[in-house]
C-alpha cells in the first residue's frame, strides 16, 4: 500500500506534463538548437570560404601547369588533351582528382578539355592564365561545390567539447526550470498547509523579494491569507458571541419558568417552556460543535478507541437505561485500539451515532459496537435493531438538518450524523451506513491509524 502510493507520487512528479519538465525540455531543446544553428553557420562560412579558395588555387595551379606543358612540348591539337591528362594523372595519382576544366587560347582554340561539357554555363568560373611566354589563355572550371555541411557539423557533434556543451546546457536548463518551478511548488505546499492549519506563518520574505511575477503571486497569497484569517476570526467570534448571547436569555427564560413553577407547580405550559429551553440549548451546542469541527486547527493526539466506546456506552446507560449495549473487540490486540486522532471529535461522532442507535431502538432491543483492528486502521461497527432507514434516504441523512421521513417527530435536529461525518472525515476515514434486510441500521466507521496532519 505504502509503496504503491509512493510510486504514483513519483510517477506524477516525473510526468512530462509537469511544468518542470516542460520548461526544462523547452529550454534545453531551444538552447541546443541555437547552439547547433550557430555552429552550422560558423562552420559553413569557414569551410565554404576556405574550400573555395583551396579549390580555385588547385584549379589555377593545375591550369598553369597544363599551359606550361602545352607551350613547351608544343603538342599537336589531337594529342594534347590525352597527353596532358596522362601527365596530370601521373602527377596526381588518381583520376578523380583531375579537376574538370576547359582551357582555350584567346581565339577559342581548345588546348585542354576534361569533363566540363556536362556543367552548364552558369556554373562555370572563368580565369585568365598566363603561360611562360606570357601568352594569355582562358581557363573555365566548375564552380567549387562545398561538401555537405551537416557531415562536418555532425563530426564535430561527436567531440568531447560537444558532450560538455550538451551537459552544461542541460544543467543550465534544469537550474532555470527549477528556479521557476520551486517557488510555485512552495506556494502550492503553503496553500495546502494553510487550508488545514490557519495558524501557519505567512509566505517567507525571500519569495516576496524576488521581484518577479512569482513574488507578486506570493504577495497575493499573503493577502488572501490575511483576508481569510480575518474572515475565519470574525466567523468564530460571531458564532461564539451569538451562542453566548443566545444562552443568556435562555438561562433567564428558564429561571422565570422555574419561578412560575414554584407558584403553580402543576402548570403544563411551564413544563413545555422547560423542554423547549433544553431543546434550544442542545441546538446551540450542536451548531457550536459543528462549526468547531470545521474550523479549529488541532494537533492529532493518541486516542484510545475502546476507552472512547466505553465512555459513550457509560453515558448511554444513563440516558437510555432500557437499551442493552455490548462492546466486542479482540482483547489480545487491545494496544491497537490507540490511534492518532482528535479525541473530542471522535467522541462526538461516536456519541451521535450510538446515541441515534439507542434513540431509534425500542426498550430491550440491543445496540452493539464491534471494534476490529488492522495494521493501518480501526473499524468500528455500530449496529442496532431499531426501525432502520429507507435505502433511498441513507445518503440524505448526512446533510445538515435532514431528518428521515419516519423520524420527523422524534427529538433531534438532524445535525448528529453531519457532525459524525465531519469528524470522521477530519481523520481521513470513511463512514458507511447500511440498513440490513433483517432491520435496524449498521454504521461502519473506518479510521486510519494516523490522522493526516495536513488534512
Amino acid at each position: 500500500m505504502v509503496s504503491k502510493v509512493k510510486w504514483t507520487d513519483i510517477k506524477t512528479n516525473l510526468g512530462f506534463k509537469r511544468l518542470f519538465w516542460r520548461i526544462f525540455v523547452a529550454f534545453w531543446v531551444a538552447s541546443l538548437a541555437v547552439m547547433a544553428a550557430t555552429g552550422y553557420v560558423l562552420v559553413n562560412e569557414y569551410t565554404a570560404s576556405s574550400y573555395n579558395k583551396r579549390f580555385l588555387d588547385d584549379a589555377t595551379n593545375q591550369a598553369e601547369r597544363i599551359v606550361w606543358r602545352y607551350e613547351h612540348e608544343a603538342f599537336t591539337n589531337g594529342r594534347a588533351r590525352s597527353e596532358i591528362k596522362e601527365w596530370v594523372k601521373r602527377r596526381n595519382g588518381r583520376e578523380n582528382q583531375l579537376i574538370p576544366m576547359l582551357i582555350s587560347t584567346p581565339d577559342n582554340e581548345v588546348v585542354y578539355h576534361y569533363r566540363l561539357n556536362k556543367v552548364p554555363e552558369e556554373h562555370r568560373i572563368t580565369r585568365e592564365i598566363y603561360g611562360p611566354s606570357n601568352n594569355r589563355y582562358v581557363a573555365q572550371f566548375r564552380q567549387p561545390q562545398t561538401p555537405r555541411i551537416y557531415k562536418q557539423v555532425l563530426s564535430r557533434f561527436q567531440s568531447i567539447q560537444f558532450v560538455f556543451i550538451f551537459l552544461a546546457s542541460a544543467l543550465v536548463s534544469a537550474l532555470l526550470s527549477w528556479s521557476i518551478v520551486k517557488p510555485i511548488k512552495y506556494l502550492g505546499a503553503f496553500s495546502r498547509k494553510y487550508a488545514n492549519d490557519q495558524t501557519a506563518t505567512p509566505v517567507p520574505s525571500q519569495l516576496l523579494t524576488r521581484g518577479d511575477e512569482l513574488s507578486d503571486l506570493a504577495a497575493d497569497i499573503n493577502f488572501m491569507v490575511s483576508k481569510t484569517a480575518d474572515a475565519i476570526g470574525a466567523q468564530q467570534r460571531l458564532l461564539h458571541d451569538v451562542s453566548h448571547e443566545l444562552r443568556a436569555p435562555l438561562a433567564r427564560l428558564q429561571a422565570s419558568a422555574a419561578i412560575i413553577e414554584q407558584h403553580q407547580p402543576k402548570n403544563k405550559h411551564v413544563l413545555q417552556i422547560h423542554n423547549d429551553c433544553q431543546r434550544m440549548d442542545q441546538l446551540i451546542q450542536q451548531i457550536l460543535n459543528f462549526s468547531t469541527l470545521e474550523q479549529t486547527p488541532q494537533k492529532a493526539e493518541p486516542c484510545d478507541i475502546i476507552a472512547l466506546c466505553n465512555r459513550v456506552l457509560d453515558d448511554m446507560a444513563v440516558n437510555y437505561p432500557g437499551i442493552p449495549t455490548t462492546l466486542t473487540f479482540n482483547q489480545s490486540r487491545e494496544e491497537d485500539a490507540i490511534i492518532n486522532g482528535f479525541p473530542e471529535a471522535l467522541h462526538q461522532a461516536l456519541d451521535n451515532i450510538v446515541g441515534n442507535a439507542c434513540k431509534y431502538s425500542n426498550k430491550g432491543q440491543p445496540v452493539a459496537i464491534d471494534v476490529a483492528f488492522s495494521t493501518n486502521s480501526v473499524v468500528i461497527v455500530v449496529k442496532d435493531n431499531g426501525i432502520g432507514v429507507d435505502d433511498a434516504e441513507i445518503e440524505k441523512l448526512m446533510q445538515p438538518f435532514y431528518r428521515a421521513g419516519n423520524q420527523m417527530h422524534t427529538e433531534g435536529f438532524g445535525l448528529g450524523l453531519t457532525i459524525a461525518l465531519k469528524a470522521v472525515e477530519k481523520h481521513a476515514g470513511t463512514l458507511v451506513m447500511q440498513s440490513p434486510a433483517e432491520g435496524g441500521l449498521r454504521v461502519k466507521i473506518t479510521l486510519p491509524k494516523n490522522a493526516p496532519t495536513h488534512l
Binding site: 444562552r247 443568556a248 438561562a251 433567564r252 428558564q254 419561578i259 429551553c277 456506552l313 457509560d314 444513563v318
Partner: protein, 237 residues
C-alpha cells in the same frame, strides 16, 4: 439547622439572571446574595464566613470564575459550584482540578441548581457529623476523617473536599469495585448524569497527587463499571 437557612452567594455578571435565580432560590428556602464581578467576589469571600456555598459563573468579563476559584481556594475551603458553558469540557475539568466541588452546565434548570446546592451542603454536613477519632490507613496513606487531613508516609497531602471524600470512600471499600453511579451518589451526593465527568476528574486528580507522593497504581479503573482501591499496588508493565 431547620431554622437556619443555607446562605448562598451567586456570582454572575448577568444581573437579571441573578435576580431571577435569587427569587427562585429564596422561594426554595435559601438565603441568597448576588455579586456581579470577579474581584468583588474575591473580596467578599475572603472577608466573610457567612456563605455555606458559592455558585460561580466561569464566563465573566475581567476576572473570570476560574480566577475567583483559584484565589478563594488558596485560602478557604468554602464549597464552590461552577456554572460552565455546556460542552466546555476543558473549563469543567480545569474548574474541578482547581478545587471546585461540582459543576453545572449553563443554562440550567434552576430546580437542578437547587438540588446541586443541597447535595453539596449535605456532603459537608455529613462530613462534619463524622466521628473525629476515625482514622483510615492503606498503602501508607493516612486519612484523619475528623480533621480531614490526608498524609502519605508522614507528609501531608493537599486534597480538595471532593477528592478527600472520594479517596476515603474507596479506601473504606478496598478490593471492591465501586460503580461511577454509586461513587457520584455517595461522594457528590447527587445522581450520575450522562456526560458527567466529575468523578473521573476527581479520581484522576487523586491518582496524580498520590503518584507525586510516591504511591502508584493503587486505584484501578474498571472499564465500563467504575473504580477499585486495590489491596496491593498493581505492578506497572
Amino acid at each position: 439547622m431547620k431554622n437556619e437557612k443555607i446562605n448562598v452567594l451567586l456570582v454572575d455578571d448577568d444581573k437579571d439572571l441573578c435576580a431571577l435565580l435569587q427569587e427562585f432560590l429564596e422561594g426554595d428556602g435559601f438565603s441568597v446574595d448576588a455579586i456581579h464581578s470577579g474581584d468583588e467576589a474575591i473580596k467578599t469571600l475572603l472577608n466573610t464566613e457567612k456563605y455555606d456555598t458559592v455558585v460561580l459563573d466561569i464566563m465573566m468579563p475581567g476576572i473570570s470564575g476560574l480566577d475567583v476559584l483559584k484565589s478563594v481556594r488558596a485560602e478557604k475551603q468554602t464549597p464552590i459550584l461552577m456554572l460552565t458553558g455546556r460542552g466546555d469540557d476543558i473549563d469543567r475539568i480545569v474548574g474541578l482540578e482547581l478545587g471546585a466541588d461540582d459543576y453545572l452546565p449553563k443554562p440550567c434548570n434552576p430546580r437542578e441548581l437547587g438540588a446541586r446546592i443541597r447535595a453539596i451542603i449535605r456532603r459537608t454536613q455529613y462530613l462534619k457529623a463524622t466521628p473525629s477519632a476515625s482514622l483510615s490507613e492503606l498503602h501508607g496513606i493516612y486519612l484523619d476523617l475528623g480533621a480531614r487531613q490526608a498524609t502519605v508516609n508522614g507528609k501531608s497531602l493537599a486534597l480538595t473536599g471532593a477528592e478527600f471524600n472520594a479517596l476515603s470512600y474507596l479506601m473504606e471499600r478496598v478490593g471492591q469495585t465501586i460503580s461511577k453511579q454509586e461513587m457520584t451518589q455517595e461522594v457528590l451526593k447527587r445522581p450520575l448524569e450522562a456526560y458527567d465527568r466529575a468523578m473521573d476528574v476527581h479520581v484522576s486528580r487523586i491518582r496524580q497527587k498520590l503518584a507525586a507522593a510516591g504511591v502508584k497504581n493503587v486505584i484501578k479503573s474498571v472499564r465500563g463499571v467504575g473504580y477499585q482501591m486495590l489491596t496491593a499496588p498493581q505492578q506497572s508493565e
